[in-house]
């Protein structure tokens, strides 16, 4: 480390980032609420937002922890149904003013927590396994969640998930603003956790589990923690999805949905949050942008995946993560090559 290198002090970094994030939220909300943006475009932005949360949350387990869970749609389903059932139970559509926002916030948090609990339940036994074994066992759990959602009503004889016909008439609480807020919050929280001591412990497990364990890191604890966090945000995304669509069917949360999310993470670069955000955006927008080519659009989608994996197997951004402070510091220290420094900024 060079001593004469100019750096930005920590409080300043937080300040810059907070201001930028607030500005970003304000600007995009104003932009979307203005007449220039149509309902269609807003809807797509909302789907993109939901997919971003799903991708960054899976990125915790896949990119940072280095495992390969294939049951992410299961957690999303848990969150979606929790949120949906809660919103219906309190009749959020009829609530007004502060109560309404309270219900929405409660639904989001509750969905996350319930999904997180499922994350612990599944994580404790599943994370004893590694690699493809873990992939298969999480795949199994994902399917179990879907099958339970389909059959629980007819087996236990009550009306909760409404089985195959689906949960309908969920109050549509999802707006562009709360999707945006959830996206920003998830990214910030995940980023901050990953830059903390706990985050480094998680990263160390990815790099070398045996070495990490020999250094005294409680690997099981951190694995379950990362997995639970991943499930929590998937649950929040699920709740937004429920509030976006207004009706849920267990069949939407099948194995293919998990794969779809995994593709976003792998394509963006495992371990890169910016990569997950970018690829979730592109992979959601691409099929819509290619509507004009009708049936060929699915070919293009597949082709992008194949070419990507051939020419850049590490994904779009590899493990690179965007850091505003790093760029600023680079500009402040023009002639010297900037040392590797962990930046604190992220949007």
């Amino acid at each position: 480390m060079k001593t004469n290198r100019k750096t930005i002090p920590m409080p300043m970094r937080y300040l810059i980032n907070t201001v930028l994030i607030v500005l970003f939220i304000l600007a995009s909300t104003l932009f979307v609420n203005s007449d220039a943006v149509s309902g269609y475009f807003t809807k797509i932005l909302m789907v993109i937002g939901i997919n971003i949360i799903l991708a960054v949350s899976l990125n915790i387990a896949t990119g940072y922890l280095g495992q390969l869970p294939l049951g992410h749609a299961g957690f999303m389903a848990v969150g979606a149904y929790t949120g949906g059932i809660f919103l219906k139970a309190v009749d959020a559509a009829k609530a007004t003013g502060g109560t309404y926002y309270l219900y929405v916030a409660a639904a989001l948090v509750l969905s996350g927590i319930v999904a997180g609990i499922f994350g612990i339940l599944i994580g404790v036994p599943a994370l004893r396994l590694k690699g493809d074994y873990l992939a298969i066992i999480t795949l199994g759990f994902g399917e179990i969640i879907r099958v339970v959602l389909t059959n629980i009503d007819s087996v236990l004889g009550f009306d909760l998930t409404y089985g195959a016909s689906g949960l309908k008439r969920i109050p549509k609480i999802t707006t562009f603003f709360n999707v945006l807020l959830c996206v920003v919050l998830s990214c910030v929280v995940i980023h901050m956790v990953m830059k903390s001591r706990h985050g480094r412990a998680i990263l160390s497990i990815r790099e070398n589990e045996i070495a990490a364990e020999s250094c005294g890191i409680r690997t099981t604890y951190y694995k379950v923690m990362a997995f639970t966090m991943s499930a929590f945000f998937a649950g929040v995304a699920g709740c937004l999805y429920a509030g976006y669509l207004g009706s849920l069917q267990p069949s939407s949360f099948g194995f293919m949905k998990s794969i779809e999310i995994l593709v976003m993470v792998v394509l963006g670069g495992m371990g890169s949050m910016l990569g997950s955000i970018l690829s979730a955006t592109v992979l959601t927008a691409l099929p819509e942008a290619l509507r004009a080519f009708s049936d060929y659009r699915m070919v293009v989608y597949s082709l992008v995946l194949v070419l990507m994996m051939i020419f850049k197997p590490t994904g779009l951004l590899g493990q690179y993560d965007f850091s505003l402070s790093r760029i600023l510091e680079k500009l402040m220290n023009p002639k010297k090559s900037a040392g590797k420094k962990e930046g604190a900024s992220h949007e």
Partner: protein, 410 residues
């Protein structure tokens, strides 16, 4: 080299994103201008168009249904346009694929709204259609589906008899409970059945909907349901269920599933020694290829469409001329009828001289649709009940000598 390619690839993806943003915003501006432009086109008289959206799952699972519906719809619209359109206005179709996925269906529907359509025909699968119906009900967009049979499409809460009806959503097909009830009545009146068994797919909305209606109606009519067997999606071995059913020897077995499973079930039931009659819903269409003629002999199912009868000859010829293949299933004629109902309502609304695409126009279309009475389509004569479901009789199809033959209207 690798680096270059990856950069290029990343650039392409970024560009595609920009393209999306661009197209969407241009769509937005066109939506904003649509009132002006449509006003201009009405002024120019003959040159005006009526924009109609079509949503169908032309790719993905069950694309066979989506394609059939779309073909049927396009067949009718092309005929109308060939005859000079509605009051001299051509119908301009915007069709989007929703892959049967509710999320895609909702975005596609919003895109149609941006395109400035006056009415929407679709979607095809129940889940996607309900998601779209939620959206269309909120903005009062006339919508008709050719194939979504669940009661919850036109009614907000099917379990509540006092429930609000989605006044803007119609359908040209039967609803699930209707078929189950019809078949129970048929079993009682025509086959004189005293005992019945059912085998259905758990977790399948359609299958369970028909089964529940059938069982309830049986109780009402005094038919004893001796056995209710279930299987799950993807099963091919039904021997256990068939042995149970055979041991109870019911007069009829109601089998409200899709044709492939139905064929297997009948085959294995005959192998287990069951000799009674099989009954099914419209999912049976095309069953003949999945079990032998002897095994299927005498089975009956109800269908929305009586293939091969005189009434539908013109339609079948027209379809063959247009697409070079026989009518694949009942979804093509139902799509044709859906388009006919919609165009009929559009023309009634257009006669009032309202501005195309305006809210008044849409309301007029919905009113005209609701008051449809006695419009003769390919699959029957149309009139809507209080829940916007068509009132028409079902065609009973019978398996004779390995062929699906129209037996009677019931």
């Amino acid at each position: 080299m690798k680096k270059f390619v990856s950069v290029a690839l990343a650039a392409t993806m970024a560009l595609s994103l920009v393209a999306c943003g661009g197209s969407a915003s241009s769509a937005a501006s066109s939506a904003a201008n649509s009132t002006a432009s449509s006003a201009a086109s009405t002024a120019s008289g003959e040159g005006g168009t009526i924009k109609v959206g079509v949503l169908a799952n032309t790719s993905g699972d069950y694309a066979i249904y989506g394609n059939a519906v779309k073909n049927g719809v396009m067949l009718y619209i092309n005929e109308i346009n060939g005859k000079g359109g509605i009051n001299g206005k051509q119908i301009e179709v915007f069709d989007y694929d929703d892959k049967g996925d509710p999320t895609e269906a909702v975005t596609a529907f919003n895109r149609l709204v941006d395109d400035g359509v006056t009415a929407v025909i679709g979607s095809v699968l129940t889940g996607a259609t309900i998601a779209v119906a939620d959206e269309s009900y909120a903005i009062g967009m006339p919508q008709i589906t050719a194939s979504a049979t669940a009661a919850g499409v036109t009614v907000l809460d099917p379990e509540d008899p006092e429930s609000e009806v989605r006044t803007n959503v119609f359908r040209s097909c039967f609803i699930d409970p209707f078929q189950g009830e019809k078949m129970a009545e048929y079993a009682s009146q025509e086959l004189g059945a005293k005992t019945a068994a059912v085998i259905f797919e758990t977790g399948n909305d359609y299958s369970e909907g028909l089964k529940n209606a059938f069982v309830d109606k049986c109780k009402e009519l005094g038919i004893e349901v001796v056995s209710e067997e279930a299987y799950t999606k993807g099963d091919v071995d039904f021997k256990a269920q068939m042995t149970t059913i055979t041991s109870k020897n019911p007069d009829v077995v109601f089998c409200p599933n899709y044709y492939q499973d139905d064929g297997n079930i009948v085959k294995q039931a005959r192998a287990a020694g069951y000799t009674g009659t099989f009954m099914g819903g419209d999912g049976w269409g095309g069953v003949a290829g999945y079990a032998s003629a002897e095994e299927l002999e005498g089975s009956v199912y109800c269908s929305g469409y009586a293939a091969g009868t005189d009434d539908v000859k013109t339609f079948e010829t027209a379809y063959k001329d247009a697409y070079g293949e026989d009518v694949p299933n009942m979804f093509a004629p139902l799509g044709y009828d859906a388009a006919m109902l919609m165009c009929n309502a559009l023309s009634a609304a257009d006669d009032q001289g309202l501005e195309t695409g305006s809210d008044d126009y849409k309301a007029a279309v919905i009113d005209a649709m609701k008051s449809t009475d006695g419009l003769k389509g390919v699959t029957g004569t149309y009139k809507f009940d209080q829940y916007n479901n068509p009132i028409k009789s079902a065609a009973i199809m019978k398996l004779e000598g390995g062929k699906e033959v129209f037996s009677e209207m019931f």
